[in-house]
Amino acid sequence: MPDSIFSQNYFEIFSMDISTNPDLSVLNESNRELQRLVHPDKFASSGDAEKRQAMQKTSLINQAFNTLKDPALRLQYMLSLKGIDMNAETDTTMDAAFLMDQMELREKISEVRTHSDPLDELDAIAKNLKKTSANLIVEFDKYFQTDVLDKSREVVRKLQFINKAQREVAELTEQLEDELL
């Protein structure tokens, strides 16, 4: 079975159905079982070719695992299975209201230092982003289930924006924490 992983989609690798909200405990369990079979440590005394293969297989499984674990990556991947490439930005008109929201948010982030408790404020922003993200995932599922792919795609683009903002908030939080020391 592990040999076939190169021709399987990420969900198939873990013997799971394609789903917006996969059961993460099943994913974790399946990941551990696969790693037992293919991890490079299991081939430490094998030949170079086998070692290399073990590394490639494990790298692929890790990539698949990471993709399915992370909502934005997972949804993007689900679209790619439908032949939609998020990176090829062909017909990308973003709804203006969302963009304005994003800019406001960025402004809020950039001004966070002037806030009386910047870390608290960042926490609040992070919570908000998490909520937005959860809503977008629900929205995606609705469109994806009914095969409305252009709408699904738009939702994923929004999710990517949110994701980027989440990373920035996390980075700024760490930076502020460092400065407090």
Binding site: D41, A44, N66, T93
Partner: protein
């Protein structure tokens, strides 16, 4: 000690098949070697029955002394006797300042970026000195086992970056050791602890050694040790407690560290260390130091003062714990056990504050010195093939994000920290000038956005791809991180197939004379100058961004943008133009740039595609493959 009697069920090795392998804990203060015999993992003693080998090397005119003897000679022959060399592993000359002025060695003048310590036996690098320690441990293993070694698992701090890992592997090579795997210290400790206790669930391993700190959050389940996240500080440990006490002593004695000889400094450090250890038993510790014939200083270090000295450092470790929990998406109350590892967790204050933080009594019932070597031995035994049906599996992660430098001195992350390894990832980049035929790839490791704040790992060049319009070349950079956490990188221009590949060797960012000068400058100037410099850099970058967007919009704004998009871009552009002149700090300017970037992301991508089509138009594909 229960730990030393771990037996692995199902280990049915036929004697003639058994391959000998050892686990080595190459520590800042002490090192150990362990092995599995008849299913039991144990550390190996020297002929005097000592298990711990002090990581101290003395170079004399006629040889090398390693261990206790060298340690005993440290005060008398401080310049030739090297301790805590682990702190210099994978470090460049530029890092020496950062590590403090407390290094009592003479560094050789050199063109190389690798620091060399002058000794009676010639100039020595950290790799060579570590190799001398490893040789002794290897020999101990061979003598005890009476056979040739298959190889060794060598432990490294989880938070070691690529350069530090590579240096460790190089040292092993120099010592003639076949490295089966570099294993992260907290992971090794978890293996020993987990197999011994049979614990299942989420465990935090808090590993504070002599010179390094690691925190790993791990999931233990049926023989699988899965690291969920790791964090730490590869330049923080019990040594720093000693230094803090030493500085306090010197200040109390009304002296200046700069006026003291290397031998005296060493003596003060030894007394400081002794006082620290006393405080684990007593409420206060008397210190007396004979600075010279005429001056002997007596003083009392109370727990209160000691706590004032070290609390900031412990708080720093707790910040790393908070981060690791966040990365693992684990709440404190989900942590089943906090396992204390490393000699510095003997300091009561550390236990107290860690216990408070995790809201639980940390586990201190395992030998914090030996547990890492024992875990390494168990994995070495499995990797050597002595446990073919075993359940043991270690799944580890990348401790620090990997990225490459992009325009404007920014780091683009390719693989995020705490990604399970091995892992490979490809990412496409493009050129920024018309007709550009070469591209320098600068690989960095770290979490910060600015290249300067990350660790430079290596640079390589991709040359000879055919000229394109700016933004239309597609350079695919593939990062592969192996199970040792070591990186190799290859790059390929997709249109032409031009390929370049490097094995990442530490660059210290110093090969380039310009950068060396920059680093020197940044060290000489105070923090304020650094802020000014980074604002300048962002202003230059802002000018570039403004120019680029203006020129692009003059070209094709009407055909490529909707009215809404145009309004959004122009408003972000106006804000950036204002910030270019008014911004007081780099951060402010950067966020204005990020806004413009957000607003114009779709536009930029469309232009890139259009540019590719334009370049290709009227040409045959083969033309792009030549040259």
């Amino acid at each position: 000690m229960a730990l030393l009697q771990i037996s692995e069920p199902g280990q049915s090795t036929k004697p003639h098949e058994h391959r000998f392998a050892i686990g080595i804990d190459l520590g800042t203060t002490n090192s150990l070697v362990a092995t599995v015999r008849s299913g039991q993992a144990d550390t190996l003693p020297d002929i005097n029955g000592q298990h711990l080998l002090p990581s101290v090397v003395q170079y004399t005119g006629d040889g090398v002394l390693v261990g206790q003897q060298a340690k005993d000679n440290q005060v008398l022959d401080s310049q030739n006797t090297i301790s805590s060399i682990k702190r210099l592993m994978g470090r460049g000359i530029s890092d020496l300042k950062m590590l403090g002025d407390n290094l009592p060695y003479v560094f050789a003048e050199t063109d190389s970026s690798v620091p060399r310590i002058q000794t009676a036996a010639g100039d020595k690098t950290a790799v060579e000195i570590s190799a001398d320690i490893l040789k002794v441990l290897k020999q101990r293993g061979e003598q005890t086992l009476g056979d040739k070694l298959e190889g060794a698992v060598i432990t490294v701090p989880a938070y070691f970056d690529d350069a530090q890992r590579q240096a460790t592997k190089d040292a092993a090579k120099l010592a003639g050791i076949n490295v089966l795997r570099l294993l992260n210290e907290p992971t090794a400790a978890a293996v020993a602890y987990g197999l011994d206790s049979g614990a299942e669930g989420v465990v935090a391993v808090y590993d504070l050694g002599g010179g390094t700190f690691d925190i790993s959050i791990m999931q233990l389940k049926q023989g699988v040790f899965e690291v969920l996240s790791t964090g730490g500080d590869s330049a923080l440990g019990g040594d720093d407690f000693d230094h803090a006490i030493a500085e306090w002593v010197i200040a109390q004695a009304g002296l200046n560290a700069n006026d003291l000889s290397a031998g005296t400094l060493r003596l003060v450090l030894q007394e400081a260390c002794a006082a620290k250890e006393n405080l684990s038993e007593q409420d206060q510790s008397e210190i007396s130091i004979k600075f010279d014939e005429s001056k002997t200083w007596f003083g009392t270090l109370t727990r209160d003062i000691f706590h004032q000295l070290i609390d900031p450092m412990i708080k720093k470790t707790l910040m790393s714990c908070r981060r690791a929990l966040r990365d693992a998406e684990i709440e404190k109350d989900q942590v089943l056990d906090v396992v204390m590892v490393g000699g510095s967790t003997r300091t009561l204050r550390v236990r107290e504050l860690v216990g408070e933080f995790f809201n639980t009594q940390p586990r201190v019932d395992i030998d914090p010195d030996r547990v890492v070597a024992i875990g390494a031995a168990i994995q070495a035994n499995a990797l050597a093939g002595n446990d073919p049906d075993g359940n043991l599996l270690l799944m580890d992660v990348l401790p620090l994000s990997l990225g490459i430098e992009t325009m404007g001195g920014l780091a683009e992350k390719i693989i995020q920290r705490n990604t399970p390894i091995p892992v490979s990832k490809a990412q496409d980049f493009t050129t920024y000038k018309d007709g550009q035929t070469a591209m320098a790839v600068h690989i960095v490791q770290g979490e910060r956005e600015l290249i300067d704040d990350c660790r430079s790992l290596a640079r390589f060049e991709l040359r000879g791809f055919p000229p394109h319009v700016a933004g239309s070349a597609r350079i695919r950079v593939t990062f592969q991180v192996d199970a040792d956490g070591l990186l190799s990188v290859s790059a390929k221009e997709e249109n032409s197939g031009v390929e370049a590949s490097v094995e990442v060797k530490p660059s210290y960012g110093l090969q380039d004379a310009e950068i060396e000068a920059m680093l020197k400058a940044s060290m000489e100037f105070a923090g304020e100058d650094k802020d000014v410099r980074s604002l300048r850099e962002q202003q230059v970058e802002a000018d570039r961004v403004l120019e680029a967007i203006d020129s692009a919009m003059a070209d094709d704004a009407d055909e490529m943008l909707s009215e809404d998009e145009k309004v959004a871009i122009l408003s972000a552009r106006a804000n950036l133009a204002a910030a270019r002149h008014q911004a007081k700090d780099a951060q402010e300017l950067k966020s204005a740039m990020a806004n413009l970037e957000t607003a114009s992301a779709g536009y930029v991508a469309r232009r890139m595609n259009a540019s590719v089509q334009k370049t290709m138009a009227g040409h045959k594909v083969e033309e792009f493959n030549n040259d």
